[in-house]
């Protein structure tokens, strides 16, 4: 096989554009994801300005929002559009496609010892569908009536009726089309990952020797295949309601002075369908980040990941539970309160495997020899925000307590810390750690340190105070809180949050500069810069089709033989046979 590949004539188009090589596709995902991330974060800074100084005039609004910000004052409709598209971009395009798409593609073949994905063609189609959906989503920002503005959950009837808000016109149609294509892309990708992990592992790479990254990507792909089609059905039914007069989600509606014909549907049905994906989606975002953390933490601690079996078991438990907890987003939706009881029970169960993971990470650091590379810092940061954000889940997952904090800023604080910031840290950890593998060069570590420390302080500075605003009873998705004198004492907190957000935004520019300049001018990487055990570091620095020049290495041990007693070096790659008398750890 390897020899055949060498004979392929590569043109610019087949190498950089319509590439079927998983390493190139990974880079394409990463760069597209980063671009979407820049747009998503920039949007959040715009609406943070509005929240800190409500209804004030800013030249940036006039520049970027044009007619939506007459005389530089943001329009309420555009505020809702910004939060909607910010959520959509960050959750789906950055943290699903950008994170999973990049690292599943890069690492699955490399870490299991395969020449490429099971189907390079499907993989390529998957990326280009993602690209298409990104283009459509961005195009929706420029339509006359504005982009979708019903919140990233796009609950009908608000999203179904163009009379209800301007964003529910063409913008919403484009949103739905974009998401339908996105889902197709995600499914093709996920199927490919699953098949590859099951079938293409090299000799000796049993499931119990898989690095935890691969376990995380594998299980993530399974959750995606189980849950994304349900969102597709919700989107299709919503398209039917919007364009073909059906009443799946609509009933008894009077709007703009007229009674609509819809009868017998229920918005609650939509909520069920949406959250059947929506909640697993949280873990689709988070599990790959946790997988990356496991790998980066163990490598840089120069210690085996603590409790490998428990880590795998908790990934599986989280995956299973994630599909039966969606109702905790709907405690007060009007569904039967008995269902609320059931979902409270299953939701709080998730705390158990999550706690096990957190404890195992902490124990992995204990008595380690921690190499503070930027990737390591982001991994430690992830554990910190995962704990801080995860703990408040105990409040939100409890139906009784959710009554009063549902849809307040408390929720915003919770999910941004536990899945937003944590998953972003996972993404950054992955980029810093595997940059040498992707681009053959090193990123500048000092800029990495600045990036981490500024971001880490600001992440707490932004989201910690939000708990208080939420506990004060302030709902999310409010264009401003000037309509309620009762909330006047929150104004200065909002200013502080925005200042931290702006500094955090600036810190991302350091990353961006580092990322781009290192691609071209970074120091050339050695083959295994972090002295890691996994197979991707046995491939040559220069990328090649088929990954290994000769035979694919065989695997003789698990991925975590760091600082094993009796070994000369503090790491033993997976392809090194057991020495005479050496026992493989029973894990």
């Amino acid at each position: 096989m390897g020899a055949d590949h060498a004979h392929h004539k590569e043109t610019f188009i087949t190498k950089y554009v319509f590439s079927q090589d998983h390493k190139m596709i990974a880079k394409q995902y990463l760069i597209t994801g980063l671009i979407m991330g820049i747009i998503g974060i920039a949007m959040s800074l715009l609406f943070r300005l509005q929240l800190a100084w409500p209804e004030k005039s800013f030249w940036v609004f006039e520049t970027f929002l044009g007619k939506w910000a007459p005389e530089g004052v943001m329009d309420p409709n555009v505020y809702l559009a910004l939060v909607t598209i910010h959520g959509t971009l960050m959750v789906f395009f950055v943290l699903t496609a950008g994170l999973s798409g990049t690292f599943s593609n890069l690492l699955i073949p490399l870490q299991i010892g395969a020449r490429d994905m099971a189907s390079g063609l499907l993989n390529m189609i998957s990326y280009w569908l993602f690209f298409l959906s990104s283009v459509i989503m961005i195009a929706s920002l420029f339509v006359e009536s504005g982009p979708a503005a019903a919140g990233w959950t796009i609950y009908p009837p608000l999203s179904a009726l163009p009379q209800a808000q301007p964003g529910s016109g063409l913008g919403m149609t484009l949103w739905l089309v974009s998401m339908a294509i996105f889902i197709a892309s995600s499914l093709l990708g996920s199927l490919n990952y699953i098949v590859t992990v099951i079938n293409l592992r090299t000799k000796g790479m049993s499931m119990t020797r898989l690095p935890l990254t691969i376990w995380a990507f594998f299980v993530t792909a399974i959750i995606g295949v189980v849950s994304f089609p349900v969102l597709l059905s919700a989107a299709l039914l919503l398209i039917m309601d919007r364009s073909f007069g059906t009443s799946f989600f609509l009933s008894d509606i009077f709007i703009q002075g007229e009674v609509l014909h819809y009868q017998g549907g229920s918005p609650v049905l939509y909520e069920h369908l949406f959250w059947f994906l929506g909640h697993p989606e949280v873990y689709i975002v988070l599990l790959p980040a946790l997988g990356i953390t496991s790998e980066v933490l163990a490598t840089n601690a120069r210690k085996p990941i603590f409790g490998y079996r428990a880590m795998v078991a908790s990934i599986l438990a989280i995956a299973f539970l994630s599909t039966i907890v969606w109702g905790h987003h709907m405690f007060i939706s009007g569904m039967n309160p008995f269902l609320g009881s059931v979902f409270t029970f299953t939701t709080l169960l998730i705390a158990i495997p999550s706690a096990v993971k957190a404890f195992n990470y902490i124990t992995t650091l204990w008595k380690g020899n921690l190499q503070m590379n930027p990737g390591m810092l982001f991994s430690i940061g992830l554990v910190s925000t995962f704990i801080t954000g995860g703990l408040t889940g105990i409040i939100l997952g409890d139906s009784t307590l959710d009554i009063n904090v549902h849809d307040t800023y408390f929720v915003v604080a919770h999910f941004h810390l536990v899945m937003g910031i944590s998953a972003l840290y996972g993404l950054f950890a992955g980029v810093y750690h595997w940059f040498p593998k992707m681009f053959g060069r090193m990123m500048n570590k000092n800029m990495g340190y600045i990036h981490f420390w500024v971001t880490a302080v600001c992440a707490y500075g932004v989201f910690f105070p939000m708990h208080f605003i939420g506990m004060a009873g302030l709902p999310r998705r409010y264009y401003s809180n000037t309509a309620f004198p009762y909330f006047d004492d929150l104004a200065n907190i909002n200013v502080i949050i925005t200042i931290f957000a702006l500094i955090a935004g600036a810190a991302q520019l350091v990353f961006l500069y580092n990322f781009i300049s290192s691609i071209f001018y970074g120091k050339k990487a050695v083959q295994n810069p972090w002295k890691s055990n996994t197979l991707e570091w046995t491939t040559p620095v220069e990328h090649m089709h088929g990954n290994w020049p000769g035979k694919i290495p065989h695997v003789h041990r698990w991925a975590y033989d760091y600082s094993k007693p009796g070994q000369e070096e503090d790491f033993v790659p997976q392809n090194v046979p057991l020495a005479e008398g050496e026992e493989e750890l029973q894990h």
């Binding site: 210690k303 309160p337 409890d398």
Partner: protein, 357 residues
Amino acid sequence: MTTVILFAILVLVGIAIWQITKIFELSQLRQDRDDSQIANDKDNNWNGQLMFAFLVFIYLITIYSFWAWGDVLLPEAASEHGQDIDRLMWISFALIFFVQTVTQALLHYFSYQYRGKKNQKAFFYADNDKLEFIWTIIPVITLAVLIMYGLFTWTSIMNIEENDEALVVELYAQQFNWKARYGGQDGVLGDANVRFLQDYDGRNLVGIDSSDPNGLDDVVVQELHLPKGRQIIFKMRSQDVLHSAYMPHFRAQMNCVPGMITEFSFIPSMTTEEMRQTPEMAAKVAKINKIRYDNSKALMANGEEALDAYQFDYLLLCNKICGASHYNMQMKIVVEEEKDFNNWLAAQTTFAQTIQQ
């Protein structure tokens, strides 16, 4: 002015970052020219120390937030079930603070204590079933207790039984305001549907079916009045999109869904006047009025009108995104003694009177 200061701060931070980067690069050059971009002992050392500093930062920001913003939190619940919710909330918070304090301490202390050194070897420690068991079983027990407590409270709040004592009130949501409907003399709400909204030249504000005799004495109002100490059963409707009736001071919230009637119930335990007179509310209102007074001075300097002084009232807010004016969809709630409530209700116009006009 703040904008200018903020802009200046941003520029300075930018310059600072740029300069620090440069200093780092220069200091790297001067030394042993380690440009491998892999952390060396010096990096491990200062980053490990910063990890410890970060732990202090997390503690400080927690303490500072409570010190500075403790007074923005909602005051004690003004409903009977709200007391139960608050108790469970504080138990959960106590647990969260405990776990947060301990785990963050371990995480950051280990990051500091075991920062890498050349010639140091990590301790090969891959597994320990006993430990895994311990930190599985402790969350199991803790959560079991929390779940049980939560579910008992939830069931008692959400199991709403119709009874003659209770006052039934309909909350009616539309873009972007609230209305409330009382059953009138007979205490029974008449049938209603959005189809009837256009009857009587739009005077039928919530779509009451005028052929239903129960509906003729119904009263539709724009300000919600509730008697203290009596169970209120809310029946919620929406005419257009999803809304959510959020009454934070009563620890009450339920979505209003077009096409169906949702329910919530509580017993108000403090009148508006009583709440205004609690010391913490008085302090909060004084603080808000101070802020408004300061803001007014700035406004008047620009030739604009001053802000009104604020007086506390219970709020009903919309808490489900519903369109452009979502942020201003509110209704005032007045909780009063039963006698005052009855007087108020008797003075309102009934549906029959409205349509005869």
